[in-house]
């Protein structure tokens, strides 16, 4: 099964997601296209990643489960809003994010993301989990529930091997 079909299914069927606020990088763009085509999920394309964080936070108070699907560079742009909105008020927000800058992602414009993203999340005490192989995706509902229980941002990282395959 295509990995994006599987992620979409886990989010929708097993996490109960009904709203997806998104801004693509090239790794998550196929997943976003799938979710945008799903009539059961409200798709909200945004102009900046922090919008996605705030939209998901508002949806939480409407009783709707949501996800922000963004790239690693976009994640770096919105950690301040995650701290002053989600940490401050203990509002869970679940983010699916490309894990850029890994050793198999040799793009010069991703090198800082590769070195500094995890330490930054640890500094903020944001939760994260790395999804590296298709079989890991069965843990997505547990990650989603942990996000709600811990009442803070949770980053579900998708590795290059997961989204591009072993041979890419």
């Amino acid at each position: 099964m295509d990995v994006n079909v599987r992620i979409h299914e886990e989010l929708k069927k097993n996490c109960g997601v009904r709203l997806a606020a998104t801004l693509p990088d090239d790794w998550v763009a196929p997943l976003i296209r799938r979710m945008a085509a799903d009539p059961d999920v409200r798709h909200v394309p945004v102009a900046r990643e922090a919008e996605a964080i705030a939209i998901c936070s508002g949806a939480f108070f409407g009783g709707v489960r949501s996800v922000a699907v963004i790239g690693a560079t976009g994640l770096l742009t919105c950690t301040g809003e995650m701290a002053t909105l989600n940490l401050r008020h203990q509002i869970p927000v679940f983010c699916v994010v490309s894990m850029r800058g890994s050793i198999d992602d040799q793009r010069i414009y991703q090198e800082v993301q590769g070195r500094r993203t995890i330490p930054l999340l640890q500094t903020y005490d944001f939760l994260y989990h790395v999804f590296d192989r298709p079989e890991d995706l069965a843990s997505m509902p547990d990650a989603y529930e942990t996000c709600r229980l811990q009442k803070r941002p949770f980053i579900a990282f998708l590795t290059r091997r997961l989204v591009k395959g072993e041979q890419a």
Binding site: G58, L85, R148
Partner: protein, 200 residues
């Protein structure tokens, strides 16, 4: 118009709208006028009250949602106008308190000297029902119609800047307590489930 007067008029016509306030002046003055617990008062994420309100409006399509934004916050996230226009939620009303200054930090002049045409920006973004009001009588006459028209709508309220720092005190609770008061108020009023069986 004075902001406190505007808030009293808005409160009078609020009906059953759920209100989201930008941090600082908008939040403090709405609290002073209403003591409303089914309103969310941003304490951070400046610029993103409008996005928070959009998420709430999309989650509760049958419930009127108002965002009480401010010019400083709007300028920090002008892209919210594009996203609002793209989603076109019929239940969302966007108000902007425009006093031309960053009031909370001591009435420091706004970027671009406060001369930006926010109504023009909203229309250009795809929100045709946009207007600016600068007179209290005009607001009292037009607000019932604004409340009734389908969203998204965008209303700039031209208010006087105060001199110096904001003197209106903030709401008397914050952080997680605000989350639970707001969420529980919506659960009671709307019969929805925000928190799970174990309270989170």
């Amino acid at each position: 118009m004075k902001t406190s007067e505007v808030m009293k008029v808005l409160a009078l016509h609020r009906g059953n709208a759920v209100v989201v306030c930008a941090l600082g002046m908008a939040a403090n003055e709405w609290w002073a006028a209403t003591r409303s617990e089914d309103s969310f008062y941003m304490h951070g994420a400046m610029g993103f009250a409008a996005s928070f309100a959009l998420g709430l409006a999309l989650a509760l399509p049958k419930v009127p949602v108002w965002v009480l934004n401010a010019d400083g916050s709007l300028c920090m996230n002008l892209g919210c106008l594009l996203t609002e226009a793209g989603q076109a939620p019929q239940n969302l009303k966007h108000f902007v308190l425009d006093n031309g200054v960053y009031q909370t930090v001591g009435a420091v002049p706004m970027v671009n000297g406060g001369s930006a045409d926010y109504v023009g920006l909203a229309r250009a973004a795809g929100i045709p029902r946009a207007r600016a009001l600068d007179d209290l009588g005009q607001l009292e006459r037009q607000l019932p119609g604004i409340v009734e028209e389908p969203g998204p709508t965008f209303t700039v309220l031209k208010v006087e800047a105060e001199t110096g720092f904001l003197r209106t005190p903030p709401m008397t609770y914050e952080g997680p307590e605000m989350k639970y008061r707001f969420g529980r108020a919506l659960e009671r009023r709307l019969g929805i489930t925000v928190f799970g069986p174990q309270g989170y």
